[in-house]
């Protein structure tokens, strides 16, 4: 159990004290309030506070004098001053007198929450004298990062090593292998764990939006920008930014990324103020970045920036019995979500899962089991419940002889279509594309149903 932080709020206005108290109680802090400097001093003599919020303008002894007095008692006291716009200059003076920071009234809740959290985090980290994990067994894993296979143990060991540092990490692996889970594990085991892990799916956003997503925008930066918006790099301050599908970003964004990773500084779109942010970068891709560099699609300098430490995630078929551990996990998850009493798999289903090629990796397994739980009406999942039609062909998955993406796409579409007996809706669903796209591809590759 973590210890509760204790705050003292000093303000002469009753409604302000009550509002702030209610607001901070939701953070789980212990709160004392005082209506003037004298009352604050009386409380201070009897209690220890982790942080004091102090209105600068009060009748009687001013907040400033109280600040000086408190700092005499305890030079380490963290004191944040609340001031009206008019007295910013006196707030600056307060900083010289040892205040941790000051905020102006009316207070932006975002600012208040950050100033207070940052101050307390700093203090708590110092108090905890944070012990980083000393052995691999101790690393915290996201609940669904599962597996005991030698290849995964190697991955855990790398996570353990790199999470103690601030090094940039590049996670490589086929789609569906769980790269985002590795990013999360690194974050959770680092000293940045109390700050956010901000994920950007670079592939999902068009370039025009990606820029303002990453760097934010100022009010009025473009039509409809009614309000300033912080970007992902700014949100990741103190924490980690996870750039997924990094291989898909345009040249222009590559240049900007390189700059922000090197300088940790950027401007919001339409802005002129330089914003600093302290973030750690984790990137991931299922593409061969080296090839993209060779063909000129990915900047070499950015590649080297990102590829300081890399973690390669194995495909599911190389993870031995992990497939069964994962299957059990997903079975448990979906059967309890759907309120079904399905306890296990029958032998045939297990054998199948062990032998199957799993081109879509863990994600494919998850989807397969979700569907199986939906259709299963017994207490065990059987082979028939698993969503694979031409099971016989599956084991003898022939190695791919073609090299070009197009040839492989053609072959794959052909296979899915024949497995589904050319049912277009079903095939499109399995291929995760819409029907129009599938029709276009059938036309493009001249595919035909041969009875």
């Amino acid at each position: 159990m973590e210890k509760k932080n204790k705050l003292l709020i000093v303000d002469d206005e009753e409604i302000v004290r009550q509002s702030l108290k209610a607001w901070f109680l939701e953070d789980g802090y212990e709160i004392d309030i005082a209506e003037d400097a004298e009352a604050a001093l009386r409380l201070y003599e009897k209690n220890k506070y982790d942080l004091i919020l102090l209105d600068i303008k009060m009748p009687g002894m001013s907040g400033m004098d109280l600040l000086i007095k408190l700092k005499e008692f305890d030079p380490d006291a963290i004191i944040i001053l609340i001031t009206a716009y008019a007295s910013v200059s006196s707030a600056v003076k307060a900083l010289k007198n040892g205040a941790y920071d000051y905020i102006t009234k009316p207070i932006d809740p975002d600012e208040l929450s950050h100033v207070v959290k940052n101050a307390l985090n700093q203090k708590n980290l110092k108090d905890e004298n944070i012990q980083l994990k000393t052995s691999i067994d101790e690393i915290i894993k996201p609940e669904n990062l599962i597996g005991d296979s030698p290849k995964m143990k190697e991955v855990y060991s790398l996570i353990h090593t790199v999470s103690q540092t601030d090094t940039t990490v590049l996670i490589l692996g086929d789609s569906g292998t769980g790269k985002e889970l590795v990013a999360k594990a690194i974050h959770l085991n680092s000293k940045r764990k109390y700050f956010p892990l901000v994920t950007v799916n670079c592939g999902a956003l068009p370039e025009s939006i990606l820029e303002s997503e990453l760097f934010g925008h100022e009010k009025g930066a473009f039509t409809g920008a009614h309000y300033k918006r912080k970007g992902k790099f700014e949100m990741a301050n103190g924490g980690t930014i996870f750039l997924d599908e990094i291989g898909t970003i345009s040249h222009k964004v590559q240049i900007e990324l390189l700059r922000v990773i090197e300088t940790k500084e950027f401007m919001r779109v339409g802005g002129s103020e330089t914003i600093k942010s302290d973030f750690r970068v984790i990137a991931a891709t299922n593409e061969n970045l080296q090839n993209l560099v060779n063909s000129g699609q990915f900047r070499e300098d950015l590649y080297y920036r990102l590829n300081v430490f890399n973690i390669q995630l194995p495909p599911l078929r190389e993870r031995g019995d992990d497939v069964i551990l994962l299957a059990d996990y997903f079975l448990n998850k979906f059967s309890s979500a759907m309120n079904k009493k399905i306890s296990s798999f029958d032998e045939e289903a297990i054998k199948f899962m062990q032998d199957y090629y799993w081109p879509g990796n863990v994600r494919e397994l998850e989807n397969a089991i979700e569907r199986a739980v939906v259709v299963c009406h017994k207490d065990k999942i059987t082979l028939d419940d698993l969503p694979f039609k031409v099971i016989k062909n599956v084991k003898e998955e022939e190695p791919l002889t073609e090299r070009s993406l197009e040839a492989i796409e053609k072959k794959h579409i052909e296979k899915i279509l024949s497995e589904n007996n050319w049912n277009i809706s079903k095939s499109a669903e399995e291929l995760q594309i819409d029907r129009v796209t599938l029709y276009n591809k059938i036309k493009k590759y001249g595919l035909r149903k041969n009875n």
């Binding site: 206005e13 409604i15 302000v16 509002s19 702030l20 209610a22 607001w23 109680l25 939701e26 953070d27 789980g28 609340i82 009234k105 009316p106 207070i107 932006d108 809740p109 975002d110 208040l112 929450s113 950050h114 609940e143 109390y194 956010p196 892990l197 901000v198 994920t199 925008h217 039509t223 409809g224 920008a225 009614h226 309000y227 918006r229 912080k230 949100m235 979500a337």
Partner: protein
């Protein structure tokens, strides 16, 4: 189990709430019903700020409700504040009966000018579950994937998770059983 009441306050058209109920129930495993509440909230309006004082609306809700045991999440279109703060997304009675969520700052139009219905739904779900969590006595959670993480800006609403984490849901379940 008594369902949680979603109470659109002075909102005629609550199709948004109808649409999110299945997801709310799926995530929380709690039953929700909609029961519109028409009350005069002009007392809570501040001329000076052009916003409504959320604590006063919470009081008005309490005075106008007769359901005995259920939690009630009020939903308003209006912009909310508490004194000293420039705005709040909502407010809840910690370990209490009522909470309040404002849709005003959850609309994407407010920020970028583009309407985004799906985003509005996600944000509304998060804020309802969050304030409701406070009603069940939950305080803010350290886990960014948990809907009980504090979020004082829209960016934080967007990056935090939409579900309760394991330990938060446990606390809720315990409360529901007792």
């Amino acid at each position: 189990m008594t369902p949680v009441i979603l109470a659109p306050i002075n909102i005629d058209n609550h199709f948004l709430l109808d649409e999110i109920i299945p997801e709310l129930e799926y995530i929380s495993k709690i039953k929700f019903i909609i029961k519109p509440l028409n009350i005069d909230i002009s007392k809570a309006f501040s001329e000076e700020r052009g916003q409504y004082h959320s604590t006063i609306i919470l009081k008005l809700m309490l005075e106008n409700l007769n359901e005995e045991n259920s939690k009630v999440v009020g939903i308003v279109k209006n912009d909310l504040f508490i004194p000293v703060l420039t705005y709040v997304f909502g407010e809840a009675q910690l370990d209490g009966k009522c909470s309040l969520v404002s849709l005003f700052r959850l609309h994407e139009e407010f920020y970028s000018g583009n309407s985004d219905k799906n985003l509005l739904k996600q944000r509304t779900i998060k804020e309802i579950l969050h304030e409701l969590g406070h009603n069940f006595g939950l305080i803010h959670c350290k886990d960014w994937e948990c809907v009980m993480h504090s979020s004082s800006s829209i960016e934080e609403v967007d990056i935090k998770g939409i579900k309760y984490c394991k330990s938060c849901i446990q606390i809720i379940n315990k409360k529901l059983k007792s």
